[in-house]
């Protein structure tokens, strides 16, 4: 099993249309194309959809060491509304400790403008995940 296969078991992210593009050591990139099903009553991409995109990138980056990491808290800032095109989430782990992880995720639109920023804290369990830890080089 690869980390990509493991994370594709996330049915909610799948339903939201989130695609994992790249996973490295403490790093990940994902994207989501805004479709009618992502829009809120105001006609713009719903906050929960953007959170789901960011959260999958966070999960990929923080689980890249193959040690199960659970989100304990996260915060998200919304900067501008988007109603079409792709959104990208790039996650970079800032803290990588035995039991704790902190990871920043920047969400951009197709023009590279910041749409939102996300910061998450993860708690590492003892459990090893069923794939090899990702080495330095981002993969696939």
């Amino acid at each position: 099993m690869t980390i990509k296969e493991f994370l594709e078991g996330d049915k909610f992210a799948l339903m939201a249309g989130v695609e994992l593009m790249e996973v490295g050591n403490g790093y990940a990139k994902a994207r989501m194309e805004i479709r009618p099903q992502h829009l809120n009553g105001g006609g713009v991409c719903q906050g929960g959809a953007i959170f789901t995109l960011a959260d999958l990138a966070f999960a990929a980056a923080t689980n890249s060491h193959a040690q199960l990491t659970l989100t304990i808290t996260s915060s998200i800032n919304f900067f501008q509304a988007e109603s079409q095109g792709y959104l990208y989430a790039e996650a970079k782990e800032v803290l990588n400790r035995k039991h704790l992880s902190n990871c920043e995720v920047v969400i951009t639109n197709e023009k590279g403008e910041k749409v939102a920023t996300f910061n998450g804290t993860g708690y590492r369990k003892e459990a090893r995940l069923p794939f090899s830890p990702i080495e330095d080089k981002p993969t696939f």
Copy 2:
């Protein structure tokens, strides 16, 4: 149009299976039944799904005054994993100013245990929404 009809225009919350139960003045309650589509790779309800549930309750409570309120930042703490049954989100506005709103949302399971807590800050625009402001008493 009622606030319920306005918020049911949120297609992402709809796809996630979030149902609005009650809206009052600066107050709202929503629920979501955990289904296979909500589960992540670990078999528990995905964080983005819980965020979406909380965010709809937040949107209902903060827009209950019929003045358009956009989320600018929110944070969520996850306390325990759930894999079945209903989750409930109860939102209470703590701050209600002309341009700013702050609202706390508590997410519980069927046993009443806290699953997560959410805090959101909203920015009020001048735009009036196409329904009457909700009076003190929670409705429907």
Copy 3:
């Protein structure tokens, strides 16, 4: 040694004039009288002073079990400016796990109005603190 003595070793909180009023099991109350030294350039109590007050209440509540708990992340919402009188911080632990703690702190003025809310996540180390765990009843 008592938990009060332990926490009075916090020289920064002491310099800020924070006084611990009460500690219970997962509970604490502290206060701080706003003085000229707490004011910012705008003549109101500085955010860092309010954070310090909230943080001491958080530290007392989360360390009340006599197991060393370190803050890993916290967020604070500011609702209204204050320039005189006492501020009170009441901390209630929401999550109390072997390795994790979450605690909400409400900061009020003398009229009981909410001035700020604070939410903190703590990580519990194995180390026992040199005092007895606080039983259910708030003390001193």
Copy 4:
């Protein structure tokens, strides 16, 4: 009056020993030397002191446009404990709107290691501040 003089009116930051090093357009850098008065009961720099350092850098960056900006919410992540030497806070504004600002602050030690990260959201009032807006180039 300069922005430096304006911010030096912050008596709490002054008491905490925070020094403003540089202010640019949406940018600021500050430092604080850890002294015995900053230490908590565990002998390390107290979270409130680090918050105060970060908050002054935030205030300088977000008020650099000479339009009064108040903090409405902020979050801080603590990565490692420090007990001596200088701490540095570097603030960069990410969002600069008419009424809203978002600013990231990175706190490092003398070795350049990340000690904490801070993210704050500010609300801009109509009031102009009594100094000229800072142009692109960081100053003093």
